[in-house]
């Protein structure tokens, strides 16, 4: 009996020392996974996920504090990409975070109404609004991510979200209609 306890105890001690050494030797600094997750996020910095930007959300996912279905701008595509990266099952977007937008939009300021209050400039996460106090503001369309964060602060409601127009450069072939997967089904029925 005593031999058994001693033997197991000794074994456990040896293994404990080994693991202790390994824990020091293979210590992980930071989390390289965050970079990979961040690269998949749409970088709209809209905060709809409940985190102040895309990178904080990526960090939260990597730590397991947030789920992968909290990004409405990325929508299902991003969820699938994240699920693929993390080896999880894709799931539908969490409705608490918002709805997936059907089309890409950009903000546009109705310039005759703008009073130059600079509130939208402070709200824009990517500095895509140009202007100065009491001067008309305008949106740099190319850099607008369509996050809608500027819409709410505007006191005169002069910011509209308009859909991005498709031009020849951004035009995509539409997916062909899927072949009838089970033509027999009709005869069966």
């Amino acid at each position: 009996m005593l031999t058994a306890i001693l033997a197991l105890g000794a074994l456990a001690l040896v293994f404990g020392l080994l693991l202790g050494f390994a824990a020091v030797r293979f210590k992980v600094e930071g989390d390289p996974l965050v970079e990979k997750i961040d690269a998949l996020l749409p970088q709209t910095q809209c905060g709809q996920c409940g985190f102040p930007g895309c990178r904080p959300y990526a960090t939260a996912i990597a730590k397991g504090e947030a789920d992968i279905n909290q990004c409405p701008p990325g929508g299902q595509t991003t969820i699938v990409a994240l699920a693929d990266l993390l080896g999880r099952d894709p799931k539908p977007l969490n409705p608490e975070n918002g709805q997936e937008k059907v089309e890409k939009t950009v903000a546009i300021i109705r310039e005759d109404i703008c009073i130059g209050c600079t509130l939208c400039i402070q709200a824009c996460p990517v500095d895509a609004i140009l202007g100065a106090p009491k001067q008309m503001h305008t949106v740099i369309e190319k850099e607008c991510t369509g996050c809608e964060l500027c819409v709410a602060p505007c006191p005169v409601e002069c910011i509209d979200m308009i859909p991005v127009k498709e031009d020849i450069g951004s035009w995509k072939w539409k997916a062909p209609p899927a072949p009838a997967t089970r033509p027999r089904a009709e005869s069966d029925a």
Binding site: Q45, C54, P125, D167, W173, P177, P179, A180
Partner: protein
């Protein structure tokens, strides 16, 4: 025609050719139209940038678009007239969308701009020669529209062994190169000499499919006495005219994925391009017209026409007696690789080789796509040796990473797989869909990267501002606390500053307040008026010295 070993390429199909539909009549020159629409983007690469303004009169051959960026060529007026508009007009594109175009109204004079011919091209620096070709707006006239001057650059790393002139024209219905070779062989051969000189190529192979005996004969007569040139008659097979397949068929060399023929010492040019190069160098004429096959059951007189770039398709069809009531579909290009046009109001562009007004019998409705039965016929037909079926599955599943692993971008969209598919699956449509999806994803990634950078930059800026504000507050607080000991020096500096300011103000006052302008030639009355005004000003304003003293006192 000499006997030389012929190689072959993998796959391919033998669709019915229907070439004789449009070869019955000689090339017909289109009469001058009233209006021309010139899309700014007619080539692979960057679009041209307009260098004319609305209302300006231009001459035929005058440059109206400037080549912007390296992969770009210039654009020229097809006739003399005025620029009517610069804006979005329908262009020939599978999307049916509009794009930036220059619209011009012809004045009927058809007056040429000054053309500088360089018949002595052999003594010209090849780099200068390339520049002329670029400025002449020449792109590959076979259909892809890659700027030709780039393919006239042999590069520094390798010597060009073989120049292949592509007169294959393997796609059904299209005969524009055939007719060009029959009728203008001398121009083509002159152009080939120039291209060969620019590339310093050892030998020239002129590849023509053996279903064009008249073209072969005509070119052979034109190259009589040329020791380095040789006509090669190739057994007809689609898509032999594709660059990589042609190189393989003629030399047995397979061009690796993502490489160019240049890497194996070969350059391929279209015969139509050679004729255009001849005109640009020997006559100084830029590319303002091209030969277009107008064919199909939808036109009464199918034939080849020489049309100016920018001619509206409707005009060309009308010229050939079309479109008739039987026309079901209007296709730009051939039935294999062409695309359906949304509107006949769009113009023809540099890459338009064929307008096919197809009837219902010519483009039969193949019915709905059926499930893939995994017969593998597509893999046997694929000239790029891809796995069309596998690409299809991944395109359908939108697995954009996997589909690239299966080399989607080596697909030349020749349509052989869809042609042989017993289930009528529109395979090429799937590949085009996947390609544009991948490009869209790349664009989005770039945009996301930009947004990320800007967000990071903003974050650091906000932090910096916060730190600066905190530092300022701290400084102010410190100053308040330490006012007592530092009071004396502070007042001293203040005094010095006030003195300096007074000095500056005095200097300013002494100098004339306003520098008068336009006072060179004044009439006595004006002079008097000015003096009166000055008088009033002096009265209304108190003494400057008193004023400054008062303001100091306020402080």
């Amino acid at each position: 025609m000499s006997t030389r070993p012929l190689f072959s390429f993998f796959g391919g199909v033998h669709p019915p050719m229907h070439k004789d539909v449009s070869t019955g009549q000689p090339i017909d020159v289109m009469p001058l139209a009233e209006r021309y629409i010139l899309p700014l983007h007619q080539n692979i690469g960057q679009p041209a940038k307009p260098v004319v303004s609305v209302g300006e009169r231009v001459l035929k051959g005058q440059r109206i678009g400037h080549a912007e960026g390296y992969v770009s060529v210039a654009l020229h007026a097809p006739t003399s007239g005025t620029i009517a508009d610069i804006g979005a007009y329908p262009v020939p594109h599978p999307s049916g969308l509009s794009d930036n175009c220059i619209v011009m109204t012809a004045d009927g004079a058809d007056e040429w701009t000054e053309c500088v011919a360089l018949p002595d091209y052999e003594n010209i620096n090849p780099s200068h020669l390339r520049n002329i070709v670029r400025e002449a707006g020449i792109v590959g006239l076979g259909g892809a529209g890659f700027p030709s001057f780039i393919k006239l650059n042999p590069g520094t790393h390798k010597k060009i062994d073989t120049l292949i002139m592509n007169g294959i024209e393997c796609e059904p219905y299209i005969t524009c190169d055939d007719m060009l070779m029959r009728e203008r062989a001398a121009e083509i051969v002159a152009g080939i000499r120039i291209i060969r000189h620019a590339l310093q190529a050892n030998r020239v192979l002129i590849a023509i499919e053996d279903n064009k005996p008249q073209a072969i004969k005509s070119i052979e007569e034109a190259i009589r006495g040329e020791s380095a040139m040789e006509v090669v008659a190739c057994p007809t097979r689609y898509p032999q005219g594709s660059e990589k397949q042609l190189v393989e068929a003629l030399t047995g060399k397979e061009i690796p994925s993502e490489a160019l023929p240049l890497h194996v010492g070969i350059v391929v040019h279209n015969v139509g391009t050679a004729a255009a190069v001849y005109r640009a160098i020997m006559l100084g004429e830029p590319l303002t017209s091209r030969i277009i096959t107008v064919t199909g059951g939808g036109v009464a007189q199918p034939r080849n026409v020489e049309a100016r770039i920018g001619t509206v398709i409707e005009d060309i069809l009308a010229h050939c007696g079309g479109p008739t009531a039987e026309t079901r579909k209007l296709i730009m290009g051939g039935p294999m690789m062409g695309f359906a046009l949304h509107s006949d109001r769009a113009p023809v562009v540099k890459t338009t080789n064929c307008l096919l007004a197809a009837t219902a019998e010519e483009i039969p409705d193949r019915g709905p796509a059926l499930p893939c039965i995994r017969c593998g016929a597509c893999s046997d037909a694929c000239p790029a040796r891809l796995l069309p079926q596998q690409l299809f599955w991944y395109a359908q599943a939108k697995d954009l990473d996997k589909i690239q692993e299966y080399n989607l971008f080596d697909c030349i969209e020749c349509g052989c797989c869809a042609y042989v598919c017993p289930s009528n699956i529109p395979l090429v449509h799937y590949y085009r869909f996947a390609k544009t999806e991948i490009w869209a994803r790349e664009r989005e990634k770039e945009k996301a990267e930009l947004a990320r950078q800007r967000f990071d930059f903003r974050q650091t800026r906000l932090e910096r501002e916060k730190a600066e504000r905190a530092a300022r507050h701290k400084k102010k607080r410190d100053e308040l606390h330490s006012e007592e000991p530092s009071a004396a020096p502070a007042t001293e500096t203040k005094k010095a500053a006030i003195l300096a300011a007074m000095e500056r103000a005095k200097k300013k006052k002494d100098a004339p307040r306003i520098t008068p302008a336009n006072t060179e030639a004044l009439t006595p009355q004006q002079q008097q008026m000015i003096e009166e005004v000055e008088q009033r000003r002096r009265q209304s304003r108190p003494n400057p010295e008193q004023q400054s003293a008062a303001s100091n006192g306020d402080k």
